[in-house]
Symmetry: C2
Subunit: 328 residues, 2 copies
């Protein structure tokens, strides 16, 4: 009992110290300006007890797109880089791939033939690299890849190309009683193995696209979950509010995206009753990261940019609003 | 600042009082015996820092079946009672139902004709009562039903027929850092509107069967999610570990069920590394609730009872192990 009492007293001492200390800027990588003010003002409004816009903690749901919102998505989605690297790693066990498209094109770095294989070719690559494997083994393959692969331009691990200002925003929201979720078109089994460490978002708060998974009793009598070569759910566009409804079961009061694939999530969030925050990361910084919007093949931002202007959503100008892009 | 400091000091005073007070029995409705000991011992093992079986809080995932595990499921699943009541309530808007099976049989209380319509008839009833409605309106219809409907035998609201010992268990696990989830064959949209209040389990921790939902912009320009008459996912049997993987993304270390529909969830939980708890509620009390197992049409417990004996799982004998069944 004395030990427990001492622990409580120590915890109190820490709490008092924190309470007395001057509050530091919770968003140090955000320049002062409209975007930062909009975020801070919104959080103050929904967390002020007795205020008109107060939201109980249980309902402070915040959803974030991943590709282009929390980490880089250029020159192409990182999950695709993972799939390509896996084809190369798996090629020795698949000698027929030397003669079969789209694998042949990929192994020979024949980008023209690869592009010609189109969406069908892409789905074949994803099926070959994301199926016929247990969920546990697949998660390990993702962790192994992140430990060794490097981004072609920045020569850094892919999971270090996350946006420092957004990491601060996630932590700031959580410190204010929000529950933070990822709602991404990316594969859920590709995201869960690393997001807890990198974003502080546990697996059960990661919503994404998924393939069919089958429960089987393995040859050793132990149950396994086998990934099948069949798409089950695409968590993109109108699929995002559907995914939010399915996985979270509550409408967010705060959402952030960066492309037209996030439009419906932002609409769904903004249309709820009470105070709402809808934000868009606009990629405007080709020096420190990339600049793209209406014409981009990856992360096209066109309709959602118009909707942001019409709806008074917060558009973050990466070049103007962010002091830092990546963690140092 | 002074107000905040005072609040911290007050919180400390409360914490010290709690620390000094004698710990009360966290499971007062459980009789002392093997089942209670197994639960308390397991929780002590996984929460003892430095111990061989210690599990970090983030990995303390506990999953519970609902029908027959957390609330009663006799004389038939409560969601079916909801569907039947909805047919009656909707009948004035559907005059053709007077001539169409299975609706005619239901409205005329012709149980023989209703039974003859079989699973196909049941699906028609579920489709008619669970689709063509927005998710928000459906949630309201569930709340309205719970506020007025009464169980035929106990003459109490359905959401008061929850098991007091299991409510204590949920709270006990959460007090020990567990995150508690429902993983049920019931419809997720039927469960979420009331489980936070009744079980302390928020919508995002409720996994269940689901129908297809579609994002639409309504005539007023506002987005809605419309429930469609198409089954999307059955969270039962082998679907339970699949649902756990999809929604939670982590293997539970603790699971409770009561029927063969929970077998694979219990197998999946028990087969993980480290300390594991698999529990079954055995309905043995026809006086205070119901007694049924291997021969029951609802909540059949046959294979899972054998698996429990073989695997050393904890089987709760409702009559022997529980002092109380329902909250007073």
């Amino acid at each position: 009992m004395m030990v427990r009492l001492a622990a409580v007293l120590l915890a109190c001492l820490v709490a008092i110290t924190v309470a007395v200390a001057q509050p530091a800027d919770p968003l140090p990588s955000w320049k002062d300006g409209a975007a930062k003010s909009a975020i801070v003002d919104f959080v103050a409004r929904v967390t002020t007890e007795g205020g008109r816009d107060f939201v109980p903690p249980a309902e402070r749901i915040a959803t974030f797109d991943n590709d282009g919102t929390l980490w880089t998505e250029q020159p192409f989605y990182f999950q695709l880089a993972f799939a390509f690297d896996r084809v190369k790693a798996m090629a020795p066990q698949h000698p027929d791939w030397k003669m079969r498209q789209p694998f042949k094109a990929l192994l020979e770095k024949d980008t023209r033939a690869l592009a010609a294989s189109g969406e069908k070719g892409l789905l074949q690559i994803v099926a070959a690299t994301h199926a016929g494997i247990t969920t546990d083994a697949f998660a390990q393959s993702v962790r192994d890849w992140l430990a060794s692969a490097r981004h072609p331009r920045f020569n850094r691990p892919y999971d270090s190309l996350v946006y420092q200002p957004m990491l601060e925003l996630l932590a700031y929201l959580r410190a204010n009683g929000f529950k933070t979720f990822v709602v991404s078109g990316g594969g859920v089994e590709f995201m869960r193995p690393w997001m807890e460490k990198v974003y502080g978002i546990p697996p059960e708060q990661v919503v994404g696209s998924s393939g069919v998974v089958k429960f089987q009793i393995g040859p050793d009598g132990k149950p396994v979950l086998m990934k099948q070569a069949k798409v089950e759910f695409i968590d993109d566009g109108p699929g995002k509010p559907v995914g939010i409804n399915r996985f979270i079961g509550r409408r967010p009061i705060f959402a952030f995206g960066n492309s037209d694939g996030d439009l419906q999530m932002l609409q769904w969030t903004a249309a709820g009753p009470g105070a709402r925050f809808a934000g868009i990361v606009h990629h405007t910084d080709e020096v420190r990261e990339y600049a793209y919007d209406r014409q981009s093949k990856v992360g096209k931002l066109d309709k959602a940019l118009d909707a942001a202007a019409a709806g008074g959503w917060t558009v973050v100008d990466m070049k103007q609003d962010w002091k830092e892009i990546f963690p140092k």
